[in-house]
């Protein structure tokens, strides 16, 4: 198949044949890739913003934007974008200007950088790094730095508070997030995004698709929860809680810089969904129809692209749905949930996965036995605690 | 191929900058940052040696991982100490914190 990589190779070869130094095609490819990604991000983000408004409206039994552009207000986001671009760009007097200006760039840059290893379709991936998933996770953690920079440099107590909360939340949730991703990585034995998807091509028991979500359902749920927190989505939107912090770390931002934050937020939603799709939901795998007139590989690729998008947008839809369903958590509940619930469960999941992998089929015997023992012990241990609470009793 | 000494000299420069910072900065957090720089300089040496030494053992990288881990532990404890200092002295300038002075 004409994979993206082979296409690039051919381009390089052609350039080399003409005697043009190696740097030139590299730069050309870089510029093209970045432009495509940026274009995709803008379009997708605008679509998502419009979609979210429509979804929220329909959940609340109203219509949402209906006027701009004709059919169901599809051009509303474009209009908003133009407005933001034309607005005056304010920098507060007391702000630390360098950091203030740098902050949205860091956030946006980190988000865009993560798109490098998203496997869109078979062979369509900018660079299939062998540490792909680790790269994505570490690059995404840069976003927090940007948020802290934004919050602090605004010289506004709400912004600082929001940034502090955000940093605490992100640092806490990053731990179970990475741990939950390790389960599938251990099964597949690779961190490369492309190979992770390929590892899911089989079938479980001949019936279910070979997605890692089935053996790793616990990890998937933990990942999705942590991803919500990483994106600052409800019920984890404490950093920007409108009702208590005005808008959190970006309260002082306006115009173009605000738009960058806004774009980055939606782009980040897509990134976490893409990771979930790649690692847990089988990436581009899905049923496909051999279209007449198209070579098999191309059809496969096209359908892969479609399937990948469908899965991603389904997850994004779930995120939006949750936003209008769940209430916001309190800060202490949020931290306690990450450290006391998600972290132990993800460790347990990791241990069980490792045992199963190491011991193979015997594992069922061992794991089952040990699990029963542990379960018995925990049940035994847990019961008297409830019993001993009596009125007037000193504890 | 870049000569090994380039990496070593770069590591040395960063290490020396870190030493200078650790010796001169008044802010305790800045001292911590300088120490992180020193550790990074060392790490660069480790990894350079891991790449250039003839065996494919990667001990250098393993040790760099240990250094990073220890650095993380150090940063955590260091920052806890800095916060404790700030609570008690209302400053983080180390030359103003001199209860041990004669």
């Amino acid at each position: 198949m004409m994979t993206f990589a082979s296409l690039v190779e051919r381009f390089y070869a052609a350039m080399a044949a003409w005697g043009i130094p190696w740097i030139v095609p590299t730069l050309i490819v870089m510029v093209i890739v970045v432009s495509v990604v940026l274009a995709y991000i803008s379009v997708a983000a605008m679509f998502m913003i419009w979609w979210e408004r429509k979804i929220s409206a329909h959940i609340q039994v109203r219509y949402g934007p209906m006027r701009v552009g004709g059919w169901h207000g599809w051009a509303q986001s474009i209009a908003d974008g133009i407005k933001l671009l034309l607005k005056e760009d304010l920098i507060p007097a007391g702000a630390d200007k360098v950091v203030f200006v740098l902050a949205p760039m860091v956030v946006f840059g980190a988000t865009v950088a993560a798109y490098v290893t998203i496997p869109w379709a078979p062979g369509l991936i900018v660079r299939d790094l062998n540490i792909g998933i680790l790269y994505m996770v570490s690059i995404s953690s840069l976003v927090v730095v940007g948020i802290i920079m934004a919050g602090w440099s605004s010289n506004n107590k709400y912004a600082t508070l929001g940034a502090l909360r955000s940093a605490a939340q992100a640092v806490s949730y990053e731990v179970p997030l990475v741990l939950s991703l390790l389960g599938p990585v251990m099964i597949a034995g690779t961190m490369s995004m492309g190979k992770l998807v390929e590892a899911q091509s089989g079938r479980w028991f001949g019936v279910l698709p070979g997605w890692f979500v089935f053996p790793q359902i616990v990890a998937f749920l933990i990942y999705f929860t942590c991803a919500l927190a990483e994106c600052n989505r409800l019920p984890f939107d404490i950093p920007e809680a409108e009702s208590e912090l005005v808008a959190g770390f970006h309260v002082e931002y306006s115009g173009m810089r605000f738009a960058m934050f806004f774009l980055a937020e939606y782009a980040n939603m897509f990134v976490v969904s893409a990771i979930a799709t790649t690692v847990f939901l089988g990436g581009w795998h899905g049923p496909w129809i051999p279209l007449p007139g198209l070579p098999r590989e191309v059809a496969h690729g096209l359908f892969g692209l479609v399937w990948f998008q469908v899965k991603c947008y389904f997850l994004i839809f779930v995120m939006m749905w949750l936003r209008w369903t769940l209430a916001r958590l309190r800060v202490d509940q949020l931290m306690a949930f990450a450290w006391k619930v998600l972290l132990p469960i993800s460790f347990a999941n990791l241990i069980v996965t490792g045992l199963v992998l190491v011991l193979g089929k015997q594992a069922l015997l061992y794991v089952g036995g040990i699990a029963i023992l542990l379960l018995a012990a925990i049940l035994l241990a847990a019961r008297p605690a409830a019993r001993t609470v009596r009125v007037g009793e000193r504890t | 191929m870049i000569p090994l000494s380039h990496y070593l000299i770069l590591g040395g420069i960063i290490f020396s900058l870190g030493v200078f910072g650790a010796l001169t900065r008044r802010n305790a957090i800045a001292i911590l940052m300088s120490i992180e720089l020193m550790l990074n300089g060392v790490n660069l040496n480790f990894i350079a040696f891991a790449r250039y030494l003839p065996q494919t053992m990667l001990q250098g990288q393993v040790f760099a991982i240990f250094v990073i881990t220890v650095a993380a532990a150090e940063a955590v404890v260091g920052l806890a100490i800095v916060l404790g200092l700030y609570r008690n002295f209302k400053t983080v300038n180390v030359d103003e914190i001199n209860l041990m002075k004669w």
Binding site: W22 | Y52, F66, L83
Partner: protein
């Protein structure tokens, strides 16, 4: 000058500049931001040395973890307008002499004592190799380090909580 060497010089200059800002900068937050850039430059150098895994770990732990903690501490201990008059203490000259002396020694050692080496052929993937090394040859240090981390965590919690 090959391309790779050019990239190295660019990254080296970038990293040294960032480190210099960290050490010499007046504003502590800007120093921290420069430190982030320095760490990223370092990670890029690691990539140049075929240590992708460590590069990612560098970004994840230094940038995603340690710098965040540093910024936290900065926010909790200083305010935005408070640029202190003096950021350095009064032993600058002696310290500079010591640092330069060390640097001279290091450069001397790096250039004279070490034979030219080209290293083994590039490994296709270093990550499995590292994992295996950590869990076999270096299992004991690995466990020791994990105990150290636990101790540090407990210690930090005890230090940071109010009585």
């Amino acid at each position: 000058m090959t391309l790779k060497l050019g990239i190295f010089y660019f990254l080296a200059a970038f990293t040294v500049w960032a480190a210099a800002v960290v050490v010499l900068g007046k504003n502590i937050v800007r120093a921290a931001v420069a430190l982030i850039f320095g760490f990223c430059g370092m990670a890029a150098l690691y990539v140049l040395l075929d240590a992708e895994f460590l590069a990612a770990v560098q970004v994840l732990i230094y940038v995603g973890g340690i710098t965040i903690l540093l910024l936290f501490a900065i926010m909790l201990t200083s305010r935005i307008g408070a640029t202190t008059a003096r950021v350095v203490n009064d032993q600058v000259i002696l310290s500079a002499m010591a640092a330069v002396g060390l640097l001279v020694g290091l450069i001397y050692a790096s250039t004279s004592g070490i034979p030219a080496m080209s290293g083994p052929p590039r490994l296709p993937e270093t990550t499995p190799f590292l994992g295996r090394a950590l869990l076999t040859t270096y299992a004991l240090p690995f466990e020791a380090v994990s105990v150290l981390l636990l101790a540090a965590m407990v210690g930090a919690i005890i230090l940071a909580r109010k009585e």
